[in-house]
C-alpha cells in the first residue's frame, strides 16, 4: 500500500510555510533531490496562497486546506483539497514569460509555476470540494543520491537508467565490512530495487565474506525477477572472481555504462 502523509491547515497565509516544510520533508523522505523538492514546495505554496487569497478571500478566514502527500512507486503525488467555491486553476489564462516589463500585470504567475514545475497537474470538483492533484515523477533526474539505508557504511546508492540502481562500495570487502554492504543491498532489494549494478572500481580487496554477500544478493534479486551486475573490477578482484568461477555467475563489465548497454542488447 502506498504511504500517505496528511496535513490540514486553517485557510490563513501564516500557516502556509508549515505546509511548505511538510511537503519538503516528505519529498526528501521519498527520495527527491533538492531541486525537485523545491519545485514541490513552490507549487504547493502557490496553490495554497491562491486558495486563501482568491478562494476564501483574504478577509474571510474560516476555511481550511487539506494536503495529502502520497509516495507512489514511480511518483510523488500531492493532493490539495479545499471547500472554497469551485475553481479550476489549470484553466486560468497563463501569463507570458516573454512579455515586456510594461505588459506585465501583478498576478497569474502562481498557477504558471505549478504547471511548469510539476510533471502532472489535474483538477476535479468532487463532494463540493476542489481537488488539485500534482505530481513529481521519480525519474533519475528528480532523485537524490542517497546513502544506503541510513547506515554508516558510506556506500552511495544512485539511480541509473532502465530501472537499475548503482551501488558504490569502497575499500576492503572482508568479514568486518561485508555485513554493512549486505544491509545496504538487503535494503535495496526489500524496497523493490531488484536491478542493481555494483560499481566495484573502488573495492581494493574482496574476501570470501565479500563474495558471499554479492552471491546472496544476486540470488535474492533473481528470485524477484531482477539481476545484479558487476562493473569496474580491479584486476586483483577480478582474479578472485575467476579463481572461484563466479565470473560465470555474474554479468561482469568494464564500466557501469557497459553494464547498462548490455541491458539494451539483451532486450534487443
Amino acid at each position: 500500500m502506498d504511504e500517505e502523509y496528511r496535513m490540514v491547515i486553517p485557510g490563513i497565509l501564516s500557516k502556509v510555510p508549515e505546509v511548505c516544510d511538510f511537503v519538503v520533508s516528505v519529498a526528501r523522505k521519498v527520495g527527491l533531490d533538492d531541486r525537485a523538492a523545491y519545485h514541490c514546495q513552490m507549487a504547493v505554496d502557490e496553490a495554497c496562497t491562491n486558495i486563501i487569497e482568491h478562494g476564501y478571500g483574504r478577509n474571510n478566514p474560516g476555511g481550511w486546506i487539506e494536503i495529502i502527500c502520497c509516495d507512489k512507486p514511480d511518483r510523488y503525488v500531492i493532493r490539495i483539497v479545499d471547500d472554497s467555491p469551485p475553481f479550476n486553476p489549470l484553466l486560468h489564462a497563463e501569463p507570458d514569460p516573454n512579455a515586456a516589463l510594461s505588459e506585465r500585470g501583478r498576478g497569474g504567475w502562481g498557477i504558471y509555476f505549478i504547471k511548469k514545475m510539476m510533471d502532472e497537474a489535474t483538477y476535479a470538483y468532487e463532494n463540493n470540494r476542489n481537488h488539485l492533484t500534482i505530481a513529481k515523477l521519480k525519474t533519475p533526474k528528480n532523485l537524490a543520491a542517497t546513502r544506503g539505508a541510513g547506515l554508516e557504511t558510506g556506500t552511495p546508492v544512485r539511480p541509473l537508467d532502465k530501472g537499475y540502481w548503482e551501488i558504490i562500495p569502497n575499500g576492503r570487502l572482508e568479514s568486518n565490512t561485508a555485513p554493512g554492504l549486505q544491509s545496504v543491498l538487503n535494503g535495496q532489494i526489500e524496497s523493490g530495487r531488484v536491478r542493481l549494478v555494483v560499481n566495484m572500481s573502488d573495492v581494493t580487496y574482496i574476501s570470501t565474506s565479500g563474495l558471499k554477500v554479492l552471491v546472496n544478493t544476486w540470488r535474492r534479486a533473481r528470485e524477484r525477477g531482477g539481476d545484479v551486475k558487476l562493473a569496474g573490477l580491479t584486476p586483483h578482484v577480478l582474479e578472485v572472481f575467476e579463481t572461484v568461477g563466479f565470473d560465470q555467475l555474474f554479468g561482469i563489465y568494464h564500466t557501469v555504462d557497459d553494464a547498462l548497454q548490455s541491458i539494451t542488447d539483451e532486450a534487443a
Binding site: L13, P17, Q41, E46, P97, L101, R104, G110, F113, M117
Partner: protein, 110 residues
C-alpha cells in the same frame, strides 16, 4: 525574511535573507517603495541569502522595477541561488532584470 538596507555612494543596497513568500513579500514591497519614494532609485537587491522565493516576491520586485524605470533609475539583482535563478528564468525575468553573479559586480554596474 530579514531585510538589511545600506546607503552606498551611488546605490541603495538591499540584502535579503530567508524566505520571501506570500506571508512577507509585502514587507519587501514596502521597503522598496519607501526607498524609491524618497529618491533612491538606483537599487541593488542582493539575493544571496534567499533560500526560497515564490511568485509573491517576484511580483514585488517587478512592481518596484517598473517604478524606478519611470525615471532614470534601475533595480538590479545580485547572486541569486541556483534555485531562485531558475524561478526568475521560468518567469522570463532574466531578460527583464539585470542579474549579476556577485553583489560587488551589481553595485559596480551603476
Amino acid at each position: 525574511m530579514e531585510i538589511k538596507t545600506s546607503e552606498l555612494k551611488r546605490v541603495t543596497l538591499f540584502e535579503i535573507t530567508g524566505r520571501i513568500d506570500s506571508t512577507n513579500a509585502n514587507e519587501l514591497g514596502e521597503a522598496l517603495n519607501t526607498a524609491i519614494d524618497t529618491g533612491h532609485t538606483q537599487i541593488v537587491v542582493d539575493l544571496s541569502g534567499v533560500e526560497y522565493m515564490s511568485s509573491a516576491g517576484l511580483r514585488e520586485m517587478v512592481t518596484a522595477l517598473k517604478k524606478v524605470k519611470r525615471g532614470t533609475g534601475d533595480l538590479r539583482l545580485a547572486a541569486p541561488s541556483e534555485r531562485v535563478l531558475e524561478v526568475l528564468e521560468l518567469a522570463g525575468l532574466d531578460s527583464i532584470f539585470e542579474i549579476f553573479p556577485t553583489q560587488v559586480e551589481a553595485v559596480g554596474s551603476f
